[in-house]
């Protein structure tokens, strides 16, 4: 079924009886050409592009729980391509371009809203750093703009411009950045993959991998053994657990990151704002809730919930930036499990086991990367060579000293 405005009107006039479930619920077959482990944003996007762009068939996505039940449903929905380093920026700009055409491409309303993102500046040194980053972005085909204090004030007059410690001096703006309805991304990719014959198999946990003579033959699951020529793993926070089935130790620690939504308020924040000095970023959803977050809790965790000190820290950051939120009530908080890599950048690479591929280490930047991550992983699976924007995301970069360390923090995942 194709969605369109016409279809909505036709259904409205006929009592909405024509809407059907948008994907099948198939039982697993004995074997596939490709198995994607993980039915989240990245896994579903991989299956979608593998079927659509790379014309591959006999594909299955195995999901332990339900589709889109992990980080793609637990993030703060921001898209942007404001990175500095050569290994990163072309990839994230590729991703942003895919976001721009995504809804037409998969014929699903993902509410892609390019409402603009600003990174606030508080010092001269920060202005220099952001100018450099903006130039790096422009050199890679992205858009970037430096705003002065008055321009920021015209957009967000209620910010605390004269904060004694972090006065606002300007901002780096990317107008093409924005937000997306995150669940709809998973649903849109799932529907698009299903329409092209991909089997989306839910409640199917991978419990082992069958590997013989350095080659993968398939995966053991809670629904029996499923054979495959190639297995791609895209399981975010559970990366270390799943890859341990293949005897691999990864340069990854799993950490919990919390996010927050306030009660619904009248519209007053048009775009996305980040306050790096106070570890706080915020946007306003179309329902009116302020969606905001801060830093990871800082210790290894698989709990999908964090502790109160970080909630206090994030709330303090929010109050320092815009004291007006002090009277808004917090509606919900939740946590997601981040696969924090050792340099803060992801991995999309083959493993030493033939037929086994890995996509992970997205830290807390995985959502914006979803389309390009899926595309590049599908490229790697189909052609056995990396996509040109993802050549740096290799396992061996740590051994060779080719880290992509945006923050320059070294091998300390809880600082990235």
């Amino acid at each position: 079924m194709r969605y369109s405005g016409f279809r909505v009107i036709a259904e409205a006039l006929t009592g909405h009886k024509g809407w059907k479930p948008i994907w099948r619920d198939p039982a697993p077959q004995a074997s596939y050409d490709y198995i994607i482990v993980g039915g989240g944003g990245h896994g579903l996007a991989t299956a979608y592009y593998l079927a659509k762009e790379f014309k591959q068939a006999r594909i299955a996505v195995l999901e332990k729980g339900y589709l889109g039940g992990g980080n793609v449903g637990r993030n703060t929905t921001i898209i942007r391509s404001n990175y500095l380093l050569e290994g990163n920026e072309p990839f994230y700009e590729f991703s942003l371009k895919l976001w721009e055409g995504l809804e037409q491409d998969f014929n699903y309303n993902a509410m892609v809203s390019q409402r603009g993102i600003i990174n606030l500046i508080h010092t001269d040194a920060q202005r220099d750093a952001f100018t450099r980053r903006g130039n790096g972005m422009i050199l890679n085909g992205a858009d970037a703009e430096m705003l002065n204090r008055d321009q920021v004030r015209a957009m967000y007059p209620f910010l605390n411009f004269d904060n004694a410690r972090f006065p606002i001096k300007g901002a780096l703006m990317q107008r093409r950045g924005g937000t997306v309805r995150h669940d709809a991304v998973a649903w849109g990719y799932a529907r698009g993959a299903d329409m092209r014959g991909v089997d989306l198999i839910q409640n199917c946990e991978v419990t082992g991998m069958r590997i013989e003579n350095g080659r993968i033959l398939g995966v053991e699951t809670s629904r029996g053994f499923i054979g495959a020529k190639k297995v791609g793993v895209a399981v975010a926070g559970s990366s270390s657990e799943v890859m341990a089935h293949a005897g691999m130790r990864l340069p990854i620690e799993s950490h919990v990151l919390q996010a927050f939504v306030s009660e619904g308020l009248k519209p007053f924040i048009d775009g996305v704002m980040t306050f790096g000095a106070g570890h706080f970023y915020v946007s306003q959803s179309d329902k009116g809730g302020l969606v905001f977050g801060g830093d990871i809790d800082g210790y290894n965790s698989y709990a999908q919930r964090g502790n109160l000190p970080v909630i206090e820290d994030v709330a303090e950051g929010g109050m320092a930036l815009m004291p007006a939120i002090g009277r808004a009530r917090l509606l919900r908080t939740w946590g997601g499990i981040m696969d924090m890599s050792m340099d803060g950048s992801p991995i999309i690479d083959k493993t030493h086991i033939e037929g086994l591929y890995f996509n992970g280490g997205w830290c807390y930047g995985g959502f914006k990367a979803t389309p390009a991550s899926g595309w590049c992983f599908a490229h790697l699976l189909a052609k056995d060579e990396p996509h040109k924007t993802a050549t740096a995301y290799r396992f061996d970069r740590f051994l060779k000293g080719l880290m992509i360390d945006e923050k320059g923090q070294g091998a300390q995942p809880n600082l990235h």
Partner: protein, 94 residues
Amino acid sequence: MIINHPILGPRDAQEFVYLGDASLMSRPDGMTAGIEAFHDYLYNRDNPAGAHRELWYHEQGDRSWLVVTRNTVTHEILKVEMARDVARAGGRSK
């Protein structure tokens, strides 16, 4: 989270700085270990879901290093030892 410090008793985890897996205590010998061993030591982690031995530094307290065994799924703290005692038990002189 409350960490039951062996000397100071129960302390809020906010007083501590987290470093990571306690295996970081046993650094390979720089004169004999190869680059692969150092790579594994510096970058690779077990990262288990479940009991995890990890290093916490009591920065806002007595500046001691602790080895805390904690369940990463429930955040329950199972055991707290002085890192010094763990190192000595492992054959280190200090």
